[in-house]
């Protein structure tokens, strides 16, 4: 398991207590370098937020609202977090998900679904512990929008945008702990696409380690719907692993560069996944032969990418799937849909 040095924890805790003191100057707005909030810079608030998961334990009730297709879905969960990156989620409502339990120990995730009495195993979704604040700041534009109270706690409201591209995330950062008590993802076309907020939160609890160990009702089988794989550097090795030729653009418009690739296998699907990043946003391009992967049966049609092209969305995460030169291509990213379609046309025009 990855570990964080105690220096970072102490530094972050000190930053929380010393730098963020309340006062009337909080109502100012400004960018990274501007001093406000009693002499605290936006960069210091961001640092505080980036390190919060490694310095604070908490337990609370959170409401998630996500735009999926034309519908905004709302889910309530009990969330427990233990340093540095362990998480336990108990789904409360609606009825369709009530009883779902997820335990993430920082290495793996176990998802217990009571309706099918099955445990589904997967990779951890825990926050990284080796965050370089300066590098993160270089790739984002951050503005302080003001100060607000959320569930009785004072928060700094930050607007975060990637340096390149569109889209905005707003975070309500707890002045004392650095935890985001509320988040909003905004899309230039669809407006608000995802929100999360705590309706209650408790800090500094002695949360038992046992909560973050996978213990589920007796008799529940453990399954893994995807086969494990390891990143492959060479294109030839990737093609050999998947068994077909792969289109590999070395870079994409907007400053996205290739980070690596790996085979992805699950059920009847075998595809090559190429991972691109511009430093702030991640893109994944999946390539599979059209002869093995049929046209998608769901999603909104995209005329610009051909008759079989479809788009799907989960909050700010978008997916477009289309066919070109006998290959089925899927592009996934946290980009506005229009930007993702433009990228898709550049990668491989429909034929």
């Amino acid at each position: 398991m990855r570990r964080i040095g105690s220096m970072a924890v102490v530094a972050s805790a000190c930053a929380a207590v010393v730098l963020l003191s309340p006062g009337p100057a909080w109502m100012q707005t400004g960018t990274q370098g501007t001093r406000m909030l009693g002499g605290v810079t936006v960069a210091q608030i961001v640092t505080h937020a980036l390190l919060a998961a490694q310095t604070v334990d908490y337990e609370g009730t959170k409401v998630l609202s996500v735009l999926r297709g034309p519908l905004m879905e709302t889910v309530t969960v009990n969330e427990a977090h233990k340093r540095p990156n362990r998480m336990r989620l108990e789904f409360l409502s609606p009825e369709g998900v009530a009883g779902r339990l997820v335990v993430d120990d920082g290495v793996q995730t176990w998802h217990y679904e009571p309706r099918i009495h099955t445990v589904i195993q997967g990779p951890s979704l825990g926050a990284p512990i080796d965050v370089r604040t300066d590098r993160w700041m270089e790739r984002h534009t951050v503005k302080l929008l003001g100060v607000e109270e959320v569930i009785g706690r004072t928060t700094a409201v930050l607007s975060i945008q990637p340096r390149e591209g569109r889209g905005e995330r707003r975070l309500w950062i707890d002045r004392t702990t650095g935890i985001a008590l509320r988040t909003e993802d905004r899309d230039p076309a669809d407006g608000l696409v995802a929100t999360t907020y705590f309706t209650r939160i408790s800090y500094a609890l002695n949360i038992p380690d046992a909560l973050f160990r996978p213990r589920f009702p007796a008799g529940a089988p453990v399954v893994s719907p995807t086969e494990p794989s390891r990143p492959l550097v060479a294109v030839g090795a990737l093609e050999k692993a998947v068994g077909f030729r792969v289109i590999v653009p070395p870079s994409l418009p907007g400053g996205f560069t290739l980070q690596g690739g790996e085979p992805v296998t699950g059920g009847p699907v075998t595809a090559a996944r190429l991972h691109y990043s511009d430093g702030a946003r991640a893109l994944a391009l999946f390539v599979a032969p059209a002869g093995r992967l049929g046209p998608p049966g769901r999603g909104a049609a995209i005329a610009a990418l051909g008759p079989q092209a479809r788009a799907l969305g989960w909050g700010g995460t978008r997916m477009v799937q289309w066919e070109s030169r006998g290959q089925r291509l899927t592009l996934v990213g946290q980009l506005p849909l229009g930007d993702l379609i433009s990228l898709a046309e550049t990668i491989a025009p429909p034929r």
């Binding site: 519908l71 998802h111 993160w136 975060i160 719907p225 769901r298």
Partner: protein
Amino acid sequence: MSIHRIQHDLSAYLDGELPPEEMADVRRHVAQCQACQDELEELRSTKKLLGRLAQPELPHDFARELWSRIEQKPRQRRWMWLPHPAVALAAIALALVLAAVPLVRGHLERLKAAEVSPDLFIRTYMPIVAEDPLMDRAFLTLITTDANLRLVGDEARGEARGDSRR
């Protein structure tokens, strides 16, 4: 010529069917041999008796019928290796079905792959997004767990039934 050969040729001699030289040989032998004279006389009597029997009349289309059968027989023999048409059709249908099974299976696999591929892709994308330190973990987990269910064959959850959560 031996006496056995002479007696073998007596019937042909009586009917005048032997070549002239052999006819002369048989005549000379019979003139000197009492046994062959007796044998010849017996044959001559038998032939005379047979000649008195009534000769049956053949049907007028006997020859045509005979040739018709002669011609039919070889034709039947030539096609005997082929099965009955119904059996042949059934065999062809079976062969087509057997040939179609892999094609149908491949088509179904392709459709199934199309159905689950968005969930597989979004599930494998989420750990990449998790590298963003300010991303909400509960949000990532919600999307991932819904994808998990489709991948393990549970269709009850997914955006098609999202109306229950409006």
